[in-house]
Point group: C2
Amino acid sequence: MTTEALYGAVDLGGSHIGLALGSVDVEAGEYRVVACRNLEGGGYDGWEPMLDRIAEGLLELVRGVGQNPAAVGVGCPGWVDLEGGVTRFLPNLPSQWRDVPVADLLGARLEAPVYLLNDVRAATLGEFRFGAGRGTSTMALFALGTGIGGGVVVDGRLRLGPLGSAGELGHQIVDPTGPLCGCGNRGCLEAVASGPAIAAAGVRLLRSGQAPALFDLTGGDAGQVSAETMGEAATAGDEAVTKELERIAGLVGIAAANIVVALHPELIVLGGGVAGLGDLLFDRVRRTIAERVRVFPTDDVRVEPAALGTDAGLAGVLVWAASSA
Amino acid sequence: MTTEALYGAVDLGGSHIGLALGSVDVEAGEYRVVACRNLEGGGYDGWEPMLDRIAEGLLELVRGVGQNPAAVGVGCPGWVDLEGGVTRFLPNLPSQWRDVPVADLLGARLEAPVYLLNDVRAATLGEFRFGAGRGTSTMALFALGTGIGGGVVVDGRLRLGPLGSAGELGHQIVDPTGPLCGCGNRGCLEAVASGPAIAAAGVRLLRSGQAPALFDLTGGDAGQVSAETMGEAATAGDEAVTKELERIAGLVGIAAANIVVALHPELIVLGGGVAGLGDLLFDRVRRTIAERVRVFPTDDVRVEPAALGTDAGLAGVLVWAASSA
């Protein structure tokens, strides 16, 4: 009997860091985590002690399991030099990890090759191999949260580009004169349809007295307005909230429609906290694609929720490690 | 000495039909036409006599050259069933060629396998293998003319989808509430930046007395206003014309920027008559990408003119035939 190969996975986030050891079976569309652990994020003391804690944490998992990983994948929130295994710019981490040779440093500690990948591209790969995208060949994922990330798989292959930055679907321009985005541009999907953009629309309705149910739900506290409370207010009967959410979902639909004309994917996956809006979001996105893409038939394009939740990133770097090794 | 394989090429257009026999050398990035002929388009008598003339024309070329083609590629202006070699809908041809089994019918006449491909995807493949895109791996082409077509090559492979319809970059929505497009949608790039859209902007300036040079160039005749005369008027000093062309070029830039964030291509190719605007167009598109794509560095994304002109489509179906056979 041969031992199944194990791979290491690191999901490097601002508030927490996920570590795992697991195996993958791409043919079967399955992965299995055999050991995992969460570390606190932070890292205000710089990247070196953080990398040290990651290495220690993984080594502890390895000792527990009694088997070395054949390779390790690291999901990073930003740009990475894929070829060299060097982080370039991770804007949401305190020390930004500029030009850190993570693959070399971590590889030396773990005695295994280490492969970096952007975290949302990792989640896209996870959903493609093991989740909503299982069995498809071309798909796009929108991760709708505080920011909007994304990823595209074309003809069975995750599209990356030299920095692993292809697939930044949240920075498609859907409103050329629209509000300022965190990236510095105007009118990106992220600027008009992320969690904060939805909350902003809700705060306006709250303050202008157009959303009685939202007022009740939040006690009139703008700090309590979120995509979640907006969804609840819509369900509770706030018509203005419903209309605003439909308008915003329509903008997600426009970004999705633009991907459909460019790539004619079989599947659009919507994930992240904002996808919790459910039918209100999904129906509108489906309708927008049907109404807006007229240049060819799109009956074969499905719009589905992500299936793996927050595990998608870890699952993705596991298979990334396995396929890179 | 082995004889070099010859392939047949058909570029099926509304006003003319191009026929050719040629060879391809993908490694060297070269193709060679050994015989060619143009037929008049039209076909108001239906698709059957047209297909007959195409078969006769190709057979005449074959007799002249004395060598049968190993395969034949046909570029079609619309949707095709790639797998079955059946046209689905060619909206710009009089009889629309609905569900015509071109591969079977033409293949029987020519005694060679026949492969269909959308004409702008064919031009994209031609530019990728032999023109502006030689040596690149991921690129997008915008064919800016009376309509706006396009194509994308991802990681060395032309993206098609089941109807060969992926890459319809002219139907990206760049202005959600914008003017009606020929496809039935609103605010497509084609509706705001095609030849007719540019002419419309010019007619407004002409009629409202804002474009003295354009007035001189056209003798005040709206029928003479085109992308070409607009370009000339800008050069001749019409400031309002320059500003309108820059605004429109900026919309092409937005569509290009959206492709850059989605795919991070090495190259954006601009072709078609509107690309004759030259620097005014290209500089603005480059600047728009630089200013609008902030989520990752894009210094490595080039924006270049198409290199093969109207031959791109024939060159593309030649290599399509060669690689499909």
